[in-house]
Symmetry: C2
Subunit: 256 residues, 2 copies
């Protein structure tokens, strides 16, 4: 059965794109056929997987407006089994332009109904907001993975995000569930990190993945080479953590 | 003369709010009367200055829709000379709701025309996007201060941001200028940081402030106490850097 996972958090810079790229790569590495949908106008996921701006003539904006179908926009990446639907800055005005289209909350959901049948996993990298693009991802998804940086401002937004997911489940997508919260850029030398991590585990318990992604400079170097960390440095701490997260994620999916 | 400064960058988590709070506090500390406008639905600037969610019954959304005037929404903070117009999650739907109002790009500009006359500085903390809220800030502002984290993804978005500012200057606000780019969360142990910093200085030259904000855990601890770093830890490296930045900013304003 095909699984659609939205990687979302309205707080900026918490590791959504880094998690989307490396988790997608780790799933592809264990033989899953994966497509990563870049729903962020910044297009960082596309760049991080080595897709030149010039190669993005077909992109997610045209899929949302219904001009092309998802399979026409998907590109192969340097990673076997991993495909990407790239994004461009055209997506910046999508919030306003989609607002006047019919089924504005369901555009991505409709696109997945008629395409992407051969993928076992679809991951969606969301922008740092709770606007129409992220809403489309939540309506289309089976589950949400929430990257959370262990910092105060990031913690502040978590309850709003969980409330929004609950709202989407109640009104638009009854199947939607929070698959888990993953702690990112974890630095055990920093006592604030520890405090926030304990706080989150206390409030959310099992929802928080056992796997923690450490702060690891190799992870932040990889995108400048257009490669996921798993390829740029297969033995670094960040790569090992994302491989472990992919395993834990697959285990959680089997339990559903 | 009153100066309006937008603190903007569509890349998430680069230090916009942290810069807005601490720069506003440093300006207030040297006797400037300052108001910080929180234009981000996350409301981090309001929280970082100790404004309870319950105290935000008047907020920036009501100012943008024209229901109340800016002066009615401004609250005193614990910092002498520093006021804030708070934000709430009501602002999340503003992108869609403002889109259908007349003068949708000028709502904030119009609000400043009839209010906030007694302030010497107005700082606007922008959300991580180039949508209608950030556009309103760019139309209303005299200048833009761009916080930039020295990481690859943050660098990728810089040219789009500068192009957008140029577009607003040409079409909507001829007075708009980039006051400067400030390097944030600078960690000299990390060679990627150095490379990105050199890259940016090479391309932008004088536009980059001399002052660099170091990564400093005391800065990220301060908001959990509802205080700016300048009050939470007046002698830490982060506080000293923001005081230096305020001085450099005032020098640049005098040269205009
Ligand atoms: N585990 C890690 N170790 C070190 N750096 C990291 C790690 N994860 C992410 N980063 C870096 O932190 C920054 C923010 O991460 P990323 O861009 O993935 O976050 P995001 O949530 O997608 O941001 P946005 O909200 O702008 O979409 C990037 O420069 C990235 O390279
Ligand atoms: N100089 C610094 N040293 C250490 N931590 C910092 C520094 N500046 C910011 N931070 C931390 O980094 C995180 C991101 O900063 P901040 O929230 O100010 O960025 P932002 O650009 O406003 O994010 P968003 O895009 O979500 O609005 C926060 O948790 C903040 O506390
Ligand atoms: Mg991202
Ligand atoms: Mg912010």
């Amino acid at each position: 059965k095909r699984r659609i996972l939205a990687i979302a958090n309205q707080k900026g810079g918490v590791g959504k794109t880094t998690t989307a790229i490396n988790l997608a790569t780790a799933l592809a590495a264990v033989g899953e056929k994966v497509v990563l949908v870049d729903l962020d106008p910044q297009g960082n996921a596309s760049t991080g997987l080595g897709i030149d701006r010039a190669a993005r003539s077909r992109h997610i904006y045209d899929v949302l407006t219904g001009e092309i179908d998802l399979d026409q926009a998907a590109l192969a990446t340097a990673v076997p089994n991993l495909f990407i639907v790239p994004s461009t800055t055209d997506l910046t005005s999508a919030e306003i332009e989609l607002a006047s289209l019919p089924n504005r909350n369901h555009r991505l959901h409709i696109a997945f109904r008629t395409a992407a049948a051969s993928y076992q996993h679809i991951l969606i990298d969301c922008p740092p907001s709770l606007g129409l693009l992220t809403l489309n991802a939540l309506v289309a998804a089976d589950a949400v993975l929430v990257p959370l940086q262990c910092e105060f401002f990031a913690l502040e937004g978590l309850s709003l995000l969980l409330k929004t997911i609950e709202g989407v489940r109640a009104a638009l997508n009854p199947a939607l569930a929070v698959q888990g919260v993953v702690l990112t850029m974890y630095d055990q030398r920093n006592k604030l990190t520890d405090q926030v991590a304990q706080d989150v585990r206390q409030h959310l318990g099992e929802v928080v993945y056992d796997t923690v992604i450490p702060r690891n400079v190799r992870v932040s170097e990889a995108p400048s080479h257009g490669k996921p960390a798993l390829i740029y440095d297969p033995h670094c701490a960040g790569t090992e953590a994302y491989i472990k997260l992919a395993r834990e994620m697959l285990r959680r999916e089997r339990q559903v």
